[in-house]
Amino acid sequence: MPPTKKKKENIPLMSMAGLVRYYEEEHEKVKIDPKVVIIGSIVVIGIVIALSRLVPI
């Protein structure tokens, strides 16, 4: 059976700062919760600070 087409209205077009993006389609295989993004960023910052203090090159 051919895939049914969704309605064309309400296309989420993002164009702030000159970038056009569409997010109504989701094909990505690995999904992350936003909390993981926040915690991951903080961990990266922590590791870099710790390395600079403890193991200076």
């Binding site: 702030m16 993006r21 389609e25 990505e28 690995v30 991951g40 960023s41 990266v44 090159i57």
Partner: protein, 466 residues
């Protein structure tokens, strides 16, 4: 498999942020956005592991990147949002100019477009991270490859997290776009420092601010005239710059609020007459963004090329100097006095910005679906008609074209001229930064007003089909 397909496949295998299962409230969106900006600002102040202070002179040339890519030299945010913006604009130009054939009205093509953007951004992250690593390796005790890998590893991970923070905000967890918020935060930081900074941070082109300089000059009975118009030092803020910053901010806000109204009637609202407002600054700050991204990328690769091929570096350097005024690596002050010291450079800078700004402004109208044909189709689909005209997209397109193309042309000219004049007057945060900051702040003001009305009057959600 085409090049676009390969990029899209790469975009698909990269980790992505989930979409919210239900729309977060305005307060939740504000909290996610504030947390993302806070993390970005912390990244901007954490120096890269292994970087020597003696490398700081290497970073002082990245003036355009500092503003347009929200990058901070020598820190985890060294690449900033550069790879995201560069990849996005390349894709838009390729699709807009029909060099790559994609129909953005088709769901599959839209998905492929966004995935390919992400794939290309990731490739740029890796290339730029390693180029930086190798460029900085000269002064370290480690082998060139080891040092480059340490720096590149940090930049790849940190910049990918920046990409995810932006994606998180864009997918609906936050408000608007992360890229815009990071640019706004970066420009505001520069402006704040130009006014109140108490020390010089040479690697980030940040001087002692105007007000601390004023106090110190008055106390030490120094030369107050140099604080009115800076005639000596690069990057030293002066009074003309401060007054121009305030004056041009008011002018941009005024211009952004002007609309050209087109009378229409709506079948849904029983023929009631109303108007559709077209922004006078139809392409907003887009021409300035495009020209600056091009200049910033040339600036970036010219500095990095110096460690690969001096010949290529000389050519890129010559091109780069047309995008920055006063030219980099000179002692010309960043004030109105620069016009006296380098009038030829000023004319070249103005011409480059003006010509490229007009071209990019007109390209954007086609790329972003702001062209008369797309707008006419949307109006007809929404049941909106122009009084006295048949409800035919072709007829409406003809009428809209009379407004849209002149608006796109003149708004490109006006925005570009404001950026150029602002730079000549030595505004705080550069002319490009000022235009970006004001237009992004105004977009956020409208977005906040919209979100608040939706929360206060849920019926509106149904009317606008959310």
């Amino acid at each position: 498999m085409s090049f676009m397909d390969s990029l899209a496949k790469l975009g698909q295998v990269l980790p992505a942020v989930t979409k919210p299962s239900q729309k977060p409230s305005l307060n939740q969106k504000l909290i996610w956005s504030i947390v993302a900006v806070a993390i970005y600002l912390v990244m901007s102040s954490v120096p890269l592991y292994g970087l020597q202070v003696s490398n700081s002179s290497f970073f002082s040339n990245f003036l355009l990147e500092q503003v347009i890519f929200a990058s901070t030299a020598g820190t985890l945010a060294q690449l900033g949002i550069g790879p995201i913006i560069t990849a996005g604009l390349i894709m838009q130009i390729l699709v807009g100019s029909k060099l790559i054939n994609m129909n953005l009205n088709d769901e599959e093509d839209r998905a492929k477009f966004t995935e390919a953007q992400k794939g290309l951004a990731f490739i740029f992250i890796i290339i730029e991270a390693f180029l930086f690593g190798f460029a900085l390796a000269g002064n370290s005790g480690l082998s060139r490859l080891d040092f480059a890998s340490i720096i590149a590893g940090q930049l790849i991970v940190a910049t990918y997290f920046i990409l995810l923070l932006d994606e998180m905000i864009q997918k609906g967890w936050g408000l608007g776009s992360g890229v815009s918020l990071f640019i706004l935060a970066g420009v505001m930081k520069i402006m704040f420092w130009y006014m109140f900074g108490i020390v010089t941070v040479s690697s980030q082109n940040l001087p002692v601010g105007f007000f601390p300089s004023l106090v110190s000059t008055v106390v030490s009975h120094g030369n107050i005239l140099d604080l009115i118009v800076n005639t000596t030092k690069p990057f030293q803020p002066d009074l003309v710059g401060l007054v121009s910053t305030i004056g041009l901010t008011i002018l941009i806000i005024y211009l952004e609020s002007i609309n050209i109204n087109i009378p229409v009637t709506s079948q849904k609202l029983r023929g009631i007459r109303r108007t559709i407002p077209l922004n006078f600054l139809y392409v907003s700050s887009i021409p300035v963004i495009f020209v600056s991204v091009l200049g910033a990328d040339i600036e970036l690769f010219s500095t990095l090329a110096s460690y690969v091929s001096p010949g290529v570096q000389r050519v890129l350097n010559a091109i780069d100097s047309a995008f920055v005024f006063p030219p980099p690596n000179t002692t010309i002050p960043h004030s109105v006095y620069a016009l006296v010291e380098d009038p030829v450079g000023a004319v070249v800078y103005a011409l480059v910005f003006l010509v490229l700004g007009i071209i990019f402004g007109l390209v954007w109208v086609e790329v972003a679906g702001l062209d008369p044909a797309t707008q006419a189709r949307s109006l007809v689909e929404a049941g909106i008609e122009i009084p006295g005209m048949r409800s035919n997209p072709r007829v409406i397109e003809g009428i809209l074209a009379r407004y849209i193309y002149p608006l796109a042309f003149f708004s490109s000219v006006i925005v570009t001229l404001i950026a150029v004049v602002a730079t000549f007057l030595g505004v705080y945060g550069t002319g490009v930064g000022l235009i970006l900051a004001v237009s992004i702040a105004m977009q956020y003001y409208s977005l906040l007003a919209y979100e608040r009305s939706i929360e206060m009057y849920p019926l509106l959600k149904r009317i606008i089909g959310e």
